[in-house]
């Protein structure tokens, strides 16, 4: 089910996000990482991602700003937010801004994998439905 799912992971904690990317790769996802918002936006502009995992607390451009920018470039891409205990309020804000879901750090990799599967499945169905009714 995870076959050919392209995921972008964005967090300024480089070590953490690299490890997370590795563990998701083991579960069959194709992953790329970015360490700050602008870099992530550039990658989204260039590549096609099914979903983006975004840390809320980042210096400079924070997760919510990045979310808005990503959604502007590609409204179909699904976003999952990672929040810490200090930024729980961002969960609601993010969901109101169109994020698919949130997870609270520390992240359980399996839970993230489930969420990503659901998010990508939703994206696939929505696109399929859109093409069906365009026909």
């Amino acid at each position: 089910m995870t076959h050919e799912l392209n995921i972008l992971l964005v967090d300024d904690e480089a070590e953490f996000i690299q490890r997370l990317a590795e563990r998701l790769s083991l579960r069959g996802f194709k992953t790329q990482v970015a360490y700050e918002g602008p870099g992530a936006i550039e990658l989204v502009r260039r590549g096609a991602f099914h979903a983006v995992v975004l840390d809320v607390m980042m210096p400079g451009m924070d997760g919510l700003q990045t979310l808005n920018a990503v959604k502007k470039i590609d409204s179909d891409v699904e976003v999952i937010l990672l929040t810490g205990h200090t930024s729980l309020e961002a969960a609601l804000e993010g969901i109101q801004a169109g994020a698919f879901d949130y997870l609270v750090k520390p992240v359980d990799v399996d839970e993230l994998a489930f969420r990503l599967q659901d998010a990508c499945e939703k994206r696939r169905l929505q696109i399929k439905q859109a093409t069906n009714s365009d026909r």
Binding site: K71, S75, D76, G84, H85, T86, L88, E89, A91, L92, I95, Q96, G98, D101, Y102, V104, D108, D110, E111, F114, D118, E121, K122, L125, Q126, K128, Q129, A130, N132, S133, D134, R135
Partner: protein, 874 residues
């Protein structure tokens, strides 16, 4: 995105419209899948909210401590999930009139926001106030301690050292400077684990942050001016005692004994540093753990700081105007040491003890002069020092009888003025004048009368290990001995242990929430530790010499504080007099905040899905919203499947050889292959939870209704005439049949057999944290008593299998979750069996004997089910 929404709208045009002709089966199939996905997301979020609400309910009981971050985090996450549920429901049924939920959500969310924003809004007022400018009305500006001291020095002819207070306004100014408060809050919120190392780092980090922060210029200038004025009237050699005077200290039955730092004999040129150190002590382990256990929010403690002229005491100590453990005794209690009174409150050494009658003329009833080998005195330049006291002096009374009586009179005057028993710290200076340094209300802990002989007789099998000392906190408790000699021993202390220490130092207070009892070789009833032990209800026996040598680590002992004995082993009968656990959180600001936000989250007003007001506008709480959404989502899924002209997805009747009719609606991937006709065979069903339920339902043939006694039958007839909801034709919606809604990993079953209503909803897959079973059971035709007996019986059986059961009236709810697939399947089988075999049991629930009979029958059958399970496995 808009385009997508529009397409979805087109895909799920309102139910009344027929599907558009050009839509292919494939499109509909996609529509089904998408809906089911949204439906699952609703269930998932619903489950999360229910769990968090259960946590809030537990916290509301108030017997376990929690902080503001608990309330804040639960509110934030519940909001996020409730919003998701509303969003998903609206996407699932765009024509379904659910938009009004957003407005209800916003309303509730705004109210919660207001309640959680508890930070003080202004920082007006003077930065420094002289002691002779303040009285009790200025508690909010000067803090409790200093306001009281100002009051008594102005209204009573008592001598207090001159000084000033650095006010609440000054504190707020300091904390706002460079956004210090924000940074502290950020760090506090980031910490949410129980890891002690991390907690230690957090605390010391915050303290350093405070100490390193510069004072705002305005405050620095004011401090300089205040010192100059004090020097003008008291000479240039003036030194200061700098101590906390927190707002909210000494209130709400919270003593804050020994919470914060006091710096003694500070040179005025170091006042700024001393001020910051006292403020930083808001974040010591003692203070933070105390706040946590007493339900105080960080922002509840505003650190005003008192600066008094330092008194180089010849002797000093503490007066209690009553014995807190025995208020009826009508005595005053004076503890006195050589030098500064700090030695008494620190519990570091013994103190002379005078018991004085409270009736005029005051008389000394008893006098206990102990060896006082140490004393604190002021150093010339700055600070204080512990000196050894010569043998002769150390054995002398630190207070003369005349002084003791004087002190007693002063103390009584103070008590009369404040109207409550007082805890007074005093010092006598080089010229023999009594100075009042601090006073606050003394909490009383009256003990029920006890018969000492009976207590001893009951313990006759247990050797007495230690005897004597003073009861510092009442009660009796048993536990394993922990000898605490070094700082690191604190880390090894295990919950439920008996803490054995040399000195009753305030630093041990953070262990009190885990300790069964405390034994200290030194220390008195007036020490800070004793104060906190009484508040926490932990029995404490102080002044027991040789305790560390005589007790062995790990040995189980019973401490009987009032009997002043330590017994070997656990003396059970002594515990009978033990107080019930104190509901520490009740009435505290943290608890109050949780209570007020809960009122907008927890109550469920929309109970009846068939009622007219079961609509978005009637949702008053988050619970109402999720209940409404869950019900509506199920209904939407059901109706969409039934009414859509898509034969493969219409509901099918299950082809089985059982007397009842069962209908199955496939939501997504519940069938092995699509079915065109009106019936589905059992072997075409691949829904994991449905298969398990069905196994339970068909495990044993139903033997027909149990034999009814005459009364049981009559009560059914009576109920049927009285309750029209039970009459045929009045039944609602899809309850006329037994309905399964299924997908591979999902199943919901709604059954109604006659008068009995049961529903099961379950997700079972490899995603263990998403697995759950929700069971609801309601109704029955017989009278209340019989119905309740049956509900209790089912609750009993489910409880034994780890279901979380709640019963309100004759409605039973049970949850079971987060177990691997096989365990979930086993529990579903039990439910299937119960649903079939208890359906008319209330008619035979005539008496307890019958109940027991059926209980055993059910249990045997269920045990058989588990056994069969084991045998079936390879």
């Amino acid at each position: 995105m808009l385009r997508l929404l529009r397409n979805m709208l087109a895909g799920f045009r309102a139910r009344s419209e027929p599907p558009r002709a050009l839509e292919t089966d494939e499109a509909l199939q996609t529509g089904f899948k998408l809906r089911y996905l949204l439906f699952k997301r609703i269930l998932n979020a619903n489950d999360k909210v229910l769990n968090m609400m259960a946590e809030m309910e537990t916290a509301l009981q108030g017997s376990r401590p929690f902080g503001m971050s608990f309330t804040r985090s639960r509110c934030a996450l519940i909001s996020a999930n409730v919003f998701q549920i509303i969003q998903h429901l609206n996407s699932l049924a765009p024509g379904g009139n659910y938009k009004g939920l957003y407005a209800r959500f916003d309303d509730i969310q705004q109210q919660l926001g207001r309640m959680l924003d508890t930070r003080p809004k202004t920082s007006e007022g003077q930065l420094v106030l002289r002691l002779d400018q303040i009285d009790k009305t200025q508690v909010d500006a000067a803090g409790g301690k200093m306001a009281t001291l100002g009051e008594i020095s102005r209204k009573l002819r008592l001598s207090t050292p001159p000084g000033f207070v650095i006010t609440a306004a000054a504190y707020r100014l300091f904390m706002a400077h460079n956004r210090l408060q924000e940074e502290i809050e950020r760090r506090l919120q980031a910490y949410d684990t129980g890891d002690p190392d991390q907690a230690q780092q957090l605390r010391s980090g915050i303290q350093q942050l405070v100490i390193r922060s510069p004072l705002p210029d305005a405050l620095a200038v004011e401090l300089g001016r205040a010192v100059e004025m004090l020097q003008a009237s008291n000479g240039n050699r003036l030194h200061l005692a700098v101590r906390s005077s927190a707002v909210n200290e000494d209130t709400r039955e919270a003593s804050f004994a020994g919470q914060y730092r006091s710096l003694l004999n500070v040179s005025p040129k170091h006042l700024q540093q001393a001020y910051k150190e006292v403020v930083a002590s808001k974040y010591t382990e003692t203070a933070m753990s105390y706040r946590f256990h007493r339900g105080l929010r960080d922002e509840d403690v505003v650190m005003c700081v008192g600066c008094l002229k330092m008194v180089d005491a010849v002797c000093g100590g503490v007066v209690y105007t009553r014995n807190p453990l025995n208020p009826a005794e009508d005595t005053l209690l004076i503890h006195s040491v050589w030098g500064l009174p700090r030695l008494v409150v620190d519990g570091r050494s013994g103190a002379d003890r005078f018991v004085v009658s409270r009736k005029e003329p005051l008389v000394i009833l008893s006098r206990e002069i102990v060896q006082k080998p140490l004393k604190y005195r002021c150093l010339e330049e700055e600070g204080i020092c512990r000196y050894a006291v010569e043998d002769r002096e150390s054995l002398q009374a630190s207070l003369s009888d005349a002084q003791a009586l004087d002190l007693g009179r002063l103390a009584l005057e103070l008590e009369t003025y404040s109207g409550e028993p007082q805890d007074i710290e005093w010092a006598i200076d080089g010229e023999g004048r009594v100075q009042i340094l601090q006073c606050r209300c003394l909490q009383m802990f009256p003990q029920p009368g006890r018969d000492p002989e009976a207590a001893e007789a009951g313990a006759s099998d247990h050797p007495v290990l230690l005897q004597g000392g003073v009861a510092a906190s009442p009660g009796a408790a048993a536990g394993a001995v922990h000898l605490l000699k070094k700082e690191v021993d604190k880390l090894r202390f295990k919950a439920g242990g008996v803490m054995v220490i040399r000195q009753a130092l305030p630093g041990y207070a953070p262990l009190l929430d885990r300790a069964a009892a405390v034994i200290a070789e030194h220390g008195s009833l007036s020490s800070h530790l004793a104060n906190v032990a009484r508040e926490y209800g932990v029995p404490a026996l102080f002044g027991v010499s040789g305790a560390l040598a005589k007790l062995t680590p790990g040995q189980v002992v019973t401490v009987d504080a009032m009997g002043r004995r330590v017994y070997e082993g656990a003396v059970a009968h002594l515990f009978r007099s033990v107080r019930p656990p104190i509901r520490l959180m009740a009435g505290t600001p943290v608890h109050e905040t949780l209570k007020s936000v809960s009122a907008h989250i927890l109550p469920l007003n929309l109970r009846d899905p068939d009622a007219v007001d079961f609509r978005p506008g009637s949702c008053r709480t988050f619970h109402d919203i999720i209940r409404f959404c869950h019900e509506s989502a199920v209904r939407e899924m059901f109706q969409f499947g039934r009414e859509n002209e898509f034969p493969q997805r219409a509901s099918k009747q299950l082809l089985v050889d059982v007397p009842l009719k069962w209908w199955v609606l496939n939501l997504d991937d519940g069938f092995r292959e699509e079915v065109e006709g009106r019936h589905v065979k059992l072997d075409n069903i691949v829904s994991i939870p449905m298969q398990a339920l069905w196994d339970g339902i068909t495990m044993a043939p139903w033997q027909g209704p149990p034999p009814i006694d005459g009364k049981g039958f009559l009560s059914v007839m009576f109920e049927a005439t009285r309750n029209t909801a039970l009459l045929p034709g009045m039944q609602s919606r899809y309850t006329e049949r037994n309905y399964f809604m299924i997908a591979k990993n999902y199943c919901s079953l709604t059954t109604r057999f006659g008068f009995h209503f049961a529903s099961v909803e379950s997700c079972v897959s490899e995603r263990v944290p998403e697995n759950y079973i929700l069971f609801r059971f309601k109704g029955g035709a017989a009278d209340d008593l019989r119905r309740h007996r049956r509900v209790a019986l089912i609750g009993d059986v489910l409880g034994e299998h780890d279901f979380d059961v709640s019963v309100a009236d004759d409605v039973l709810r049970a949850r079971f979750e987060d177990y691997p697939m096989e365990v979930m399947q086993h529990r579903l089988k039990i439910l299937g069996y119960l649903i079939m075999h208890t359906r008319q049991l209330d008619m035979v629930m005539a008496n307890d004997a019958m109940v027991n009979h059926y209980r055993n029958k059910l249990k045997t059958a269920i045990a058989g089910l588990s056994r069969r399970e084991c045998q079936e496995r390879p």
